[in-house]
């Protein structure tokens, strides 16, 4: 039974990847760009979910790592002659280092107090980026960032984004399913008990924060590849809350929940704003609806519905 399900899942996975691979052949440019964006935000939301959904950490200002990753890559590309791939990695490493430094300060606190100190630290980083004209371009940001030709076209950046996102999702999935991930979920459910069975809770969370920051940074660097720009709003707290919302809408106890949530939010924003300037109104109403009726998100809801069906089948077979 279990083996059958896993083969089926692998089959679905291959089919989905194949569809994503073939999409640019059928879709207009704009949609290819849009899906690239969905992948970027999906990766960002998934990276947040490592600590949010699996670690139970209120990481209110996750976008700091996204923004810092993007800025680091952008600055390396515009100001140095470092090869692209190193610049790209520099973004993720910078985000991970920042995450480590912030984590040392915040990890001793729990829940809301963690979130608040984290958001203050994040706002400080934002303020510095926002004002340091000579280095970061201040509120103008940096535009026209040179990206190697092969991945700067619409399709090129799409395939690059797809490949990096898939690799990252695979790694994150491995981490979640590893003993490290199991212990992390234990800490989420019960930090005191986790300590009592021999897990060093603080150190474990700190490492999880660094991992989340790292992948958040990768998402930021990917945005540079897709959009060739960076701007200080990437580190503003409103974007962090939006990424939070992506996890919520998709479902933060489901691995693909944040991906789904990100796709929904991006689609909503793009298509509704095509019809009306009041897209935030629609977006807000959708959020209220989800909070009221789907507290586990869309995927969480579907999984709950699917579960009794499986059990029913078992009973029938038995």
């Amino acid at each position: 039974m279990r083996k059958g399900t896993s083969t089926r899942n692998i089959g679905i996975g291959i089919a989905v990847v194949a569809v994503f691979f073939l999409l640019p052949a059928f879709l207009p440019r704009f949609y290819v760009y849009l899906i690239s964006l969905m992948l970027v935000y999906g990766l960002l939301a998934t990276s947040l979910n490592i600590v949010l959904g699996y670690g139970g950490v209120f990481q209110f200002h996750h976008c700091v790592f996204y923004g810092v990753g993007a800025y680091a890559t952008a600055l390396f590309l515009t100001k140095t002659g470092v090869p692209f791939i190193l610049s790209f990695l520099a973004g993720a490493v910078a985000a991970a280092v920042l995450s480590f430094l912030m984590g040392i300060i915040t990890v001793r606190l729990s829940k809301l107090y963690f979130g608040m100190l984290q958001i203050s630290l994040g706002s400080l980083v934002w303020a510095i980026v926002y004002r340091w004209y000579s280095f970061t371009g201040g509120d103008d940001g940096i535009h026209g960032i040179p990206v190697p030709e092969i991945i700067s076209s619409y399709n090129g950046s799409y395939y690059f984004t797809l490949a990096v996102t898939l690799i990252c999702l695979f790694l994150i999935y491995k981490i979640i399913k590893s003993p490290f991930g199991s212990a992390l979920q234990g800490i989420r459910d019960n930090p005191v008990r986790s300590g009592m069975i021999g897990i060093n809770v603080k150190r474990h969370l700190l490492v999880a924060l660094v991992i989340a920051g790292f992948f958040g940074g990768v998402a930021g660097s990917l945005f540079v590849v897709v959009d060739k720009t960076v701007f200080p709003d990437m580190l503003f707290w409103t974007l962090s809350l939006e990424v939070f919302i992506m996890c919520l809408i998709g479902g933060w106890f489901s691995f693909f929940g944040p991906m789904v949530g990100a796709a929904i939010v991006i689609a909503l924003r793009t298509f509704v704003s095509g019809y009306t300037v009041y897209w935030a109104l629609v977006y807000g109403i959708v959020m209220v609806f989800v909070i009221f009726f789907l507290p586990n998100g869309i995927l969480g809801f579907l999984e709950q519905r699917a579960k009794p069906a499986d059990e029913k089948k078992l009973i029938e077979k038995g």
């Binding site: 958001i119 809350l241 109403i285 959020m287 909070i291």
Partner: protein, 298 residues
């Protein structure tokens, strides 16, 4: 005049600027702190209510001809308008969700802030609005060391303490305030002795939001009333509340003072990075005392 005296003068006038800003920050964040302390809602929509207060002030002031009379009517009516709006929100949405986790409430208020933001756009449009400073507050007063202070700023400096005292009276001397303080500590206990907790919560929510509206009205003559003024303010108010101690109104006052003065003096010290001083102040405070300067109700 020698440079020392000039510098002193500069610092003093920046302090006055900071103190006027502190007043606005205090009024808005004390309302937020009240709601956070009693209802446990980290209300991001608080900033939207502040913005709506400012826009309402514009409309009311226009309706009454825009002069001094307009301003006073705005000062009276706009906070009431915001209070009514908040009552509808509380009864319509929040009262069903008090048992949910903070995270959900936080996200819900974020959703509301998006909705309110667009409603403002719908009603008032996307252009700048301005509310004139009333006639009586035109001009300056020279108090100390030859620094001219705009009369309106002096007015703000008077309003701040008045609001603080009224709020203190509400929380400590009225029955509603006493019940709400008890409910902040132990909600079930208050319900168990037969008090309608839900109604108390509604009242506290409305008072808190009224303060947001009042802050909006008071700030209106000094700034461009515009969309997006909610986002800059709400984070500042949030940080002030955290810094002061969740739910502690005097904490909000101290937090607002630190934030306002760090902001105004920071600009003097290092113009380009003035903006980082208040954030740095918050970080330093929280690193030393993660639960805020004064005792929080949590």
């Amino acid at each position: 005049m020698d440079t020392g005296a000039l510098l002193f003068q500069k610092i003093l006038s920046q302090i006055f600027v900071g103190l006027s800003r502190t007043t606005i920050l205090f009024i808005v964040s004390s309302g937020m702190s009240l709601i956070l302390g009693v209802l446990r809602i980290p209300n991001i929509a608080h900033g939207s209510l502040y913005m709506i207060g400012a826009f309402m002030a514009f409309s009311v002031s226009n309706f009454f001809g825009g002069g001094s009379q307009g301003f006073w009517m705005a000062l009276l009516l706009a906070p009431i308008g915001v209070a009514i709006l908040s009552l509808i929100t509380e009864r319509g949405i929040f009262q069903f969700l008090y048992k949910r986790e903070h995270l959900m409430l936080l996200l819900l208020t974020f959703a509301l802030s998006l909705i309110f933001g667009d409603l403002v756009k719908l009603v008032w449009g996307a252009e700048y609005k301005s509310v004139p400073v009333p006639q009586v507050f035109h001009g300056h007063l020279t108090l100390v060391a030859g620094i001219p202070i705009p009369l309106y700023n002096l007015f703000l400096l008077l309003v701040g303490p008045v609001v603080a005292i009224l709020l203190w009276l509400f929380v400590n001397k009225t029955k509603m305030g006493k019940i709400s303080r008890a409910a902040a500590v132990d909600r079930d206990m208050v319900g168990a002795v037969g008090i309608n907790v839900s109604r108390v919560f509604a009242a506290v929510f409305v008072v808190g939001c009224l303060l947001a509206g009042l802050g909006g009205v008071l700030v209106a003559p000094t700034v461009n009333v515009t969309l997006g003024m909610d986002h800059t303010l709400i984070m500042e108010a949030f940080l002030i509340v955290i810094m002061g101690g969740l739910g502690n109104i005097w904490g909000a006052l101290i937090g607002a003072l630190i934030f306002g003065l760090a902001q105004s003096l920071g600009i003097l010290i290092w113009p380009q990075f003035g903006i980082i001083f208040p954030y740095a102040a918050v970080v330093i405070v929280l690193m030393i005392k993660p639960t805020g300067l004064l005792k929080s109700t949590w």
